[in-house]
């Protein structure tokens, strides 16, 4: 590293630190930033020394991929098998509980929630004095069932037109496709629909939505690439109101919740979507079932910025279980309302907690490691 760049980085650090200091909402509590980052800039120069010397331990620790491939085998951890094991187990169920935990983890439920579910099930079992397999199965299922919120999962229409549904989420989760399906659903309910092409950023996003509009007999309001999405939504609402449409379903560009300018844009979008004469009835977060732990962060941040009313869990037709959506419902109380099970117009179903649990617990063969594999190390 040349000294020149250390200077550059030092300047960067100072400027970044100062900028954060100036714009951070935390005000005075960030007073220590520059000092810390100044320390950081010394770390910059010494980080080469801190960095591992790869040849010291590296070679000896390398996991040859092939080796791991052999090690990671299909463990076939279905609940059925699990509980079969329990019936024949010697009274120490710890190993089974561990396998059970692993099964929950593999569904992307998350470590904290999985642990909580298992601890809860253990307690319930203890209290009941039972210890057989089916009691264990029931206890776990009951624990999971208790994580869901009570109440309606149907989407709401306003008494007066136009109803607005706003669809939000990170990139590529299935927002536009879900809107196509929602449009068909609303049409089946006898509604006249306008789709708002609020994704003015992604290449050909409006074209994609337009095809869904054509497929489902909806109207579309679109603008030029780069246009203000709020104005597109505004225009759709005006059009719906003026021409007697029942509702507007608004598409939005995918945005990572970490991008504060885009989240601000979303706040503005929401404000537009609830102004007279619009009746904003749903703000739907689309979560991709393959999403891992980040899904919970997404739900939290979108809830904060746009007060989501429900979740559409997409791609459940794949091999992923979507456990993170349950984690989000449990933590935020935002119900999973609909489930996407394919790319066709009718592949959208109303969410049912019990069916979801059936699928979650009927775990297909997943990757896990057997004891022999571990012993073989």
């Amino acid at each position: 590293m040349t000294t020149e760049f250390i200077v550059v980085i030092a300047v960067l650090l100072v400027v970044i630190a100062s900028t954060i200091y100036l714009v951070s909402k935390r005000g005075r509590s960030t007073l220590s930033i520059p000092a810390k980052t100044a320390g950081g800039s010394t770390v910059v120069s010494s980080s080469a020394a801190v960095a591992p010397t790869p040849d010291v331990v590296a070679t000896e620790l390398l996991i040859p991929p092939g080796d791991l491939k052999k090690g990671v085998r299909r463990a076939g951890l279905s609940f059925g098998r699990l509980f079969g094991n329990i019936l024949g187990s010697d009274g120490s169920n710890q190993k089974v509980w561990d396998e059970l935990e692993e099964t929950l983890l593999l569904s992307d439920l998350g470590l904290e929630l999985s642990t909580r579910v298992i601890e809860g099930a253990k307690k319930a079992l203890e209290a009941s004095g039972q210890r057989d397999g089916s009691a264990m199965a029931n206890a776990v299922r009951m624990e999971l069932r208790g994580l869901f919120v009570e109440g309606e999962r149907d989407l709401e229409y306003a008494g007066e037109s136009p109803t607005v549904w706003l669809v939000v989420g990170v990139n590529g989760v299935g927002k536009t496709t879900s809107i196509g399906k929602l449009s068909a659903m609303a049409a089946a309910d006898g509604k006249k629909v306008v789709l708002a092409a609020g994704d003015t950023f992604r290449a050909a996003a409006a074209d994609q939505l337009q095809m869904w509009a054509e497929r489902t007999g909806a109207d579309i309001v679109r603008s030029v690439p780069g246009a203000d999405p709020s104005s597109v939504v505004y225009d759709s609402i005006q059009k719906a109101a003026a021409r007697g449409f029942d509702m507007v379903i608004a598409d939005t560009a995918g945005r990572l919740h970490t991008k504060s300018n885009l989240m601000d844009e979303l706040r503005k979008l929401r404000r537009t979507a609830e102004k007279e004469p619009a009746h904003l009835m749903e703000v739907l977060l689309v979560l991709d079932a393959t999403t891992g732990q980040n899904g919970l962060v997404q739900a939290r941040e979108f809830a904060k910025a746009a007060q989501i009313t429900g979740v559409i869990l997409t791609k459940l037709d794949g091999s992923a279980k979507g456990g993170i959506a349950l984690a989000a419902e449990a933590e935020l109380g935002v119900p999973i309302k609909l489930v996407g099970i394919g790319e066709k117009v009718n592949d959208l179903i109303v969410f049912s907690p019990d069916e979801f649990l059936d699928a979650l617990l009927e775990v297909e063969p997943q990757y896990g490691l057997s004891d022999e594999d571990l012993g073989a190390n």
């Binding site: 400027v15 620790l61 990139n171 732990q293």
Partner: protein, 447 residues
């Protein structure tokens, strides 16, 4: 609970650091934390188990008992283990001796294949190649249209046909040959690994164009299922590399580790944003360093090299050293830093940044306001904010479309900041204490 992996390791290691020797129970505790951190980072539980057992096997052994600093040893080991698990050989593209070199993109729906295809095309152009993009996703509405727009941005021709994806791919490679393109990148529709029909289709595409490189595109946000689908794609297409997308978010991307391990193919490229320039080679050491809380200085430097104006930055540095860093410089530097991308991203690459700051609620919109206020000042006001009285304040506030209070706050904060810089020995008027003195003494000497 959702601290990132970096924070977790930092926390763990701050506990071990400085300790002379670890008991077995301590090792257990450390390993439990590592396990938890990895699972929360979406590393597949099976891979986590193996990883943790490997670390244990090498930690509790005699070697550790004899080693002088077990803590250092553990840190080094975990770091090296991660680097190795993530790494392997760096990708070196071997161009087909008989052009075109054929590249196939595959993956689940919505992971970023089309975007990555265009980015890759741009990357090849920067390598001095002349690529053709082929749109063989005839399934998703407007997918080809999307590729055409992106191709336009990358200045790369896009070829497509209607009807059959296999035929389109074959014709695309033909077309590349015909018009003399030396690289051809085929985008395909997203598909589920458990969708037999579509997996057959992509296998057929692969079989009929015999790609030199097949990339599986995976999303950094993906969870435990990543290994399942990656394995199926690898079996069907015999992958050459992985492209990891959406790294600009805050997902910890543990799937990179599991997929790398389970399919045994290297991660070749990373995608870090929606714009075509947000694309880079994958560096396992950087990723491991980032995971272990050492920041990603190398990436930062490269990014700085690419985006910053050297003269302006150096000028800023000089001003800082000379203690004359004023609002004018601040504005200039801020505009520079902004070019490197969202502050949060830049910040995440810096080493030693405490997590409170890394996770601070940085409102990029506020930045714009700050900029507007400073821009509404005259040059003189920027270099001497003390001259800003009530009426000037009002004028500035009007110009920036904000309140005089906001202007006041900014001025006050900048003053505080100068004070802090002074305490760090850089910037701010009173830090100039030394320089005038020096200047005077120099003058004296000269006389």
């Amino acid at each position: 609970m959702f601290d990132n992996l970096t924070d977790r390791f930092e926390e763990i290691f701050s506990r071990i650091r400085g300790k002379g020797r670890l008991s077995e129970a301590e090792v257990d505790a450390v390993l439990r934390e590592i396990r938890a951190a990895l699972i929360e980072a979406d590393v597949n539980v099976g891979v986590v188990r193996l990883f943790v057992e490997r670390v244990r096997a090498n930690t509790v052994g005699e070697e550790l008992q004899r080693s002088l600093s077990p803590a250092q040893h553990v840190i080094k080991m975990v770091n090296a283990e991660l680097t190795n698990a993530l790494g392997g050989e760096n990708l070196k593209i071997m161009y087909a001796s008989k052009p075109p070199t054929v590249v196939l993109m595959a993956g689940l729906q919505g992971v970023g294949k089309t975007t990555a295809a265009a980015k890759l095309a741009l990357w090849f152009r920067h390598q001095g190649r002349n690529p053709l993009l082929v749109g063989a996703d005839l399934q998703r509405p407007a997918a080809v249209e999307q590729l055409k727009v992106l191709g336009g941005q990358a200045n790369v021709t896009v070829f497509s046909l209607e009807g059959d994806p296999v035929r389109t791919a074959v014709a695309g490679v033909e077309e590349a040959r015909r018009i003399g393109r030396d690289v051809v990148i085929v985008d395909t529709a997203g598909r589920l690994s458990i969708d037999k029909e579509l997996m057959d289709e992509v296998r057929k595409i692969s079989g009929s164009i015999s790609p030199n490189y097949t990339f599986l595109v995976i999303d950094a946000m993906v969870g435990q299922d990543a290994v399942n689908s990656a394995k199926v794609f690898n079996e069907a297409l015999s992958l050459d590399g992985i492209i990891l997308t959406k790294l600009d978010g805050d997902a910890r991307g543990g799937a990179a580790l599991s997929v790398r391990q389970v399919v045994g193919k290297p991660i070749s490229f990373v995608s870090t944003g929606e714009k075509l320039a947000d694309f880079d080679l994958f560096y396992p050491d950087r990723m491991a360093n980032r995971i272990l809380g050492m920041g990603d200085v190398l990436t930062l430097i490269e990014q700085a090299e690419r985006t910053l104006d050297k003269e302006i930055t150096e000028k800023g540095a000089k001003k800082l050293k000379g203690g004359k860093f004023d609002l004018e410089d601040f504005l200039e530097q801020m505009q520079q830093v902004k070019r490197m991308g969202p502050l949060k991203g830049v910040l995440s690459m810096l080493p030693g940044v405490p997590k409170e700051i890394r996770n601070a609620d940085i409102n990029e919109g506020e930045l714009v306001k700050v900029e507007a206020i400073i821009s509404s000042m005259t040059r003189a006001e920027r270099s001497n904010p003390d001259m800003i009285d009530g009426s000037r304040r009002l004028r500035i506030a009007r110009g920036a479309g904000t309140t005089t209070a906001a202007v006041g706050t900014l001025l006050k904060q900048f003053k505080d900041m100068q004070k802090m810089m002074r305490s760090m020995g850089m910037g701010g008027p009173s830090a100039t204490k030394k320089s005038p003195n020096r200047a005077i003494s120099k003058k004296k000497k000269r006389r």
